[in-house]
């Protein structure tokens, strides 16, 4: 046991070193490629621009993370409620929930955001960029989470909830104590995967003029005209947020796989 632990820690460290080396390799590659590309350009590349604007970029990154976290919270909540309503076949509400998931999964997030941002003020609902971004992203994420939860719930053998109901538990108790604890295992990897796409999707909030990382980058570009450097810098920030999450998905999947 002890031996296995040390060995896995050793492989972890060597993996870390390898990943670090690769990151270094990629960074150098980008710099060299950028330098070569810049040979033909009127002005060379200036990576210092990222350092000069580091506070603005960090502020953008913080806004992006806050937006993603809020939308992830509300999205998961909406998803859980919608999945429960659909599984319980509540009349009308279940159909409404189904329509909601189909519409919000079947149409682009871009148009959902536009509808909320440009459409709602027209019918009288006052809304600002932040609220519109949170609302749009939560509703979109909610639809995807709902399908993840519903898939998980339906995969739990029916006999279990029947037995729980027969032993006198209410529907909510059955879900809370019997069914939901079991779906954590199957739903966790896709759920984290959903949060990764959510982080990337927050970039669309820039199109409804909410000042997150993407719009911040664009406003720096408007001022400095350093397109390559800043977009690659922004991409790097998104990568730094998303890559650990996607590695997490992989390790969680592996762990779940090894236990079954």
């Amino acid at each position: 046991m002890q031996q296995a632990d040390t060995r896995s820690r050793a492989t972890d460290i060597s993996k870390l070193v390898r990943v670090g080396l690769l990151l270094l390799f990629v960074a150098v590659g980008i710099l060299v490629a950028g330098g070569l590309l810049a040979q033909g350009a009127p002005v060379g590349l200036d990576w210092g621009i990222l350092w000069t604007n580091r506070f603005l970029l960090l502020q953008g990154a913080a806004t992006t993370i806050a937006l993603a976290a809020l939308a992830a919270f509300f999205g998961t909540l909406i998803g859980l409620l919608v999945a429960l309503v659909r599984v319980a076949h509540v009349p009308f509400l279940a159909q409404y929930a189904q329509g909601y998931t189909e519409i919000f999964r079947g149409s682009p997030l871009l148009l959902q955001l536009f509808w909320i941002w440009f459409g709602l003020p027209l019918i009288g609902v006052p809304i600002n960029g932040f609220a519109a971004a949170v609302l749009g992203l939560s509703l979109n994420a909610g639809a995807f989470c709902a399908e993840i939860f519903r898939g998980g719930i339906l995969a739990v053998p029916r006999g279990q909830s029947e037995a729980a109901l027969a032993s006198g538990m209410t529907y909510l108790q059955t879900m809370r104590y019997v069914v939901l604890p079991q779906i954590v295992r199957s739903s966790l990897p896709p759920l984290i995967g959903q949060q990764i796409s959510l982080v990337k999707d927050t970039s669309l909030a820039s199109l409804i003029s909410f000042q997150e990382l993407m719009l911040m980058t664009q406003s720096i570009i408007d001022r400095t005209h350093r397109i390559f450097e800043l977009y690659i810098g922004a991409a790097a920030v998104y990568f730094v947020i998303c890559y650990p999450l996607s590695q997490l998905v992989r390790s969680v999947e592996k762990r779940i796989g090894s236990r079954t």
């Binding site: 690769l22 536009f114 509808w115 027209l122 990337k200 199109l207």
Partner: protein, 284 residues
Amino acid sequence: MGGSAPHRGAMMLAPRVAPVFGQSWQLLTSIVWVGLIFLGGTALLLLGVRQIVILAGIATSGGRGWTPHFEVVLQNLPFLLEGLLSTLQLSASVGVLAFGLGILVALARLSRLGPLYQLATWYVEVLRNTPAIVQLFLIYFGPPTVGVRLSVPVAALLGLTINNSAYMAEIIRAGIRSINRGQTEAASAVGMSYPQITRYVILPQALRVVYPPLVSQWISIVLFSSLASVIAYPELAEHAKRLDSRTFRSFEIYGAVTVIYTICTLSLALVLRLIERRVFPVAR
């Protein structure tokens, strides 16, 4: 895009859903019923919110006198359908190109050549962990600074293809890895070359395994293609924006276009699933 678990759920459901699918009339009525309940419910909900906002005195200045004018959408339906056609063309091209590129990247990801494997791995990781819109902007606005100019359609096609090829590659890789190693060994034992093994042994079987996740990727390509509107590629979302800037009927137009997209992706999913039953009948 994390589509594995819902899919697994859908597979579980298959025996129960299958008979319902056979009766297309029942399916159609259930879709119409769900649509009516959702749209009606949302209309009621929004009316309620509007009344509350007006009573609370915080309604936007223009909002109080608003009346719905969905005829704007009907009058300009040809314009929107033109955009829809363009969306379908773009997504079909991206779907085919990204699939081809995805196969190449997947093979590189499975290769035993170190540098090739590393390159493909980083290609996939970087593209999957950064937003598509950053990639599009980089491809469209980046090259002009070094004197190369890509036209809008080329940039849109290139950006979306590259982005989606990474997702495709992961799907295809998973499919190829699901095939028993013994088959490859047997094929090479009877004297088949690597390209032959890939073409006649691995890919035909892998296709069957990857078809369901491929379908969801193709559908998300239709949704992804709306991002081409940020570089003014004239597809459905861009047409909706143009119509909106001409008529200022944002609520009606974006609402209707959302529904058009949904109808389009739902029918695409249905058709692709019917094809699946026809082409891979034993898969179930």
